[in-house]
Symmetry: C2
Subunit: 320 residues, 2 copies
């Protein structure tokens, strides 16, 4: 199939879900999409509200995303879901029951779900997920939801990518996820204590609340919302909390700031990827090989090799 970007863009603008899916695939397969197309798409974006859901594996993030999506649909809002969680049913990782429950969403024309792999795209995930979000935004989605498991780098990526970050915990998220929680603690705009009908829920909420009050006072104090996502309990409270956070961001002009930060982050990432591609030409790879060959005789060091490589790069650019 040959690619006609102009036709694709036209179809996209008339609301073709197929064109949308095709454009996203082109992004995911690493930039076979010309800069002017990306440019045009980006300039249509900037209207959607972006919500990130994160938390330890098994906290019920997908079920919650499912419920909140239905709630937004009932308000007449369209929703795009980007699942970057290796354990999520959206990404095909979990139980059959979950997948069945998801089916009613995929049948809804106002919902677009996209799974993205995390492994093998280290560091690049945030940029790609954001570009996909920009496209969903340009397509006219009112709400964009990221779902990602809260470990390591991804929890930092999601803060950059989202306007509101919801951290989902369960009563039994105990000692073993303590360190994860420590990181999650810092990034939450809203906490959800999911499966709140389980034993220990109230104690877990008290503990969490106590930890939050130990911190310095902040302008925005993250609320803790009790949910039982599988029973649709607490979903409206969560919606209200998200709305309140949206109003807070709006009032303090923080939405524009978040968009600016995302823009800067994307530029940095693009620059670094492109420079790297230009840097490692045939001659640079040969220089590196020579240094590797000198390694056993202890006749080189990374510092010396890096300097020589940079000198070569400058010389070859000067010749262009």
């Amino acid at each position: 199939m040959t690619l006609n970007p102009e036709k694709l863009l036209n179809d996209f603008e008339t609301g073709s879900k197929r064109a949308l899916a095709r454009l996203i695939s082109l992004i995911e397969n690493n930039g076979k999409l010309a800069d002017d197309v990306r440019d045009a798409l980006y300039q249509k974006s900037g209207r959607a509200y972006r919500i990130g859901f994160t938390g330890p594996p098994g906290a019920g993030k997908s079920t919650l995303v499912n419920q909140i999506t239905k709630a937004y649909r009932q308000q007449g809002k369209t929703v795009g879901i980007i699942a970057v969680d290796p354990t999520s049913p959206f990404t095909g990782g979990a139980l059959l029951g979950d997948r069945v429950r998801m089916n009613d969403l995929t049948l809804d024309d106002g919902v677009f779900i996209r799974s993205m792999a995390t492994r093998g795209s280290l560091g690049g995930l945030s940029t790609k997920a954001q570009e996909v979000a920009d496209i969903l935004d340009a397509f006219g989605k009112d709400i964009i939801i990221y779902e990602t498991v809260g470990v390591g780098q991804s929890e930092l990526d999601i803060v950059e990518a989202a306007d509101t970050t919801v951290v989902v915990l369960v009563p039994e998220s105990g000692d073993s996820v303590q360190a994860m929680k420590a990181g999650l603690m810092e990034i939450a705009d809203i906490f959800v204590m999911n499966k709140a009908d389980r034993e220990g829920a109230d104690r877990a909420i008290r503990e969490l609340s106590a930890i939050l009050h130990l911190r310095e006072a902040r302008d925005w104090q993250p609320p803790i919302v009790k949910c039982v996502a599988v029973k649709q309990e607490g979903i409206n409270d969560l919606l209200t909390a998200i709305d309140r956070h949206y109003c807070y961001l709006q009032e303090h002009h923080l939405l524009e700031e978040k968009r600016r930060e995302r823009f800067v982050q994307s530029v940095h990432s693009l620059v670094s990827t492109r420079l790297k591609n230009e840097f490692w030409d045939e001659r640079a790879r040969r220089i590196l090989e020579q240094h590797i060959a000198g390694l056993d005789q202890r006749k080189t060091s990374p510092y010396r090799a890096a300097q020589q490589l940079i000198d070569h790069f400058k010389q070859s650019l000067a010749k262009q």
Copy 2:
């Protein structure tokens, strides 16, 4: 205090622990150390054996590192420890006990312990930790131990940095760390089932063993070592397992390969850091500012900004 690199290097070579500590601090404070000093230090390295300990929070990694260090000391070997566990005010409770336990090590002149922060040095941790390891290596340490919590990026960093990667688990590392374990599974050269006197230990070992046997056969099949680190049980078995892995690497010429891979990784990282520093000059920052200013009118995109910035960079390099 003024810095005299020559004197520092001389002191370092006569075995001054103070000079060692000072050099490491210079590395950590981002390269106030001239390339020729780094060069000289690197060329003295390449003799130490590097062991990484990782695993979920609370698995008892520090206690295990403590015990294994003592065991190596009894063999007359010197040890450098680099602890890259994330530090958080929320996990502060566990620290005091560990510190007390570590005290007998810090009194030993054959042991050097260094903690490194992970927050705020994203992506750069591996390079810095490796440079510190290279210095400890050049100083003459026989064994270098990394300790890091096994979540996200750090678990991938440690594989690069270490010759042997030990993954520490406990019987109760259950469902909630399943996703983490999935990542840890792939990187382990040796598994330790710590706190093996607890209920469920044998079942956990059987499960782990079953998972390992489901994978394709590999040249090196990771053993599972039972330990109770606080009671010093299983430490000798762990030493034997590490020795066996060392022999395996030796026989298959994989040690040189690991050193080469680390070298390449360091060069890549240095190049990328230095290019970035040169890239973001006064004019580049102004270009970015202009694009940010055009953001509200939707008159720009990250793609357009990145291209303009790269064009500027090439022009300014050509003029040099």
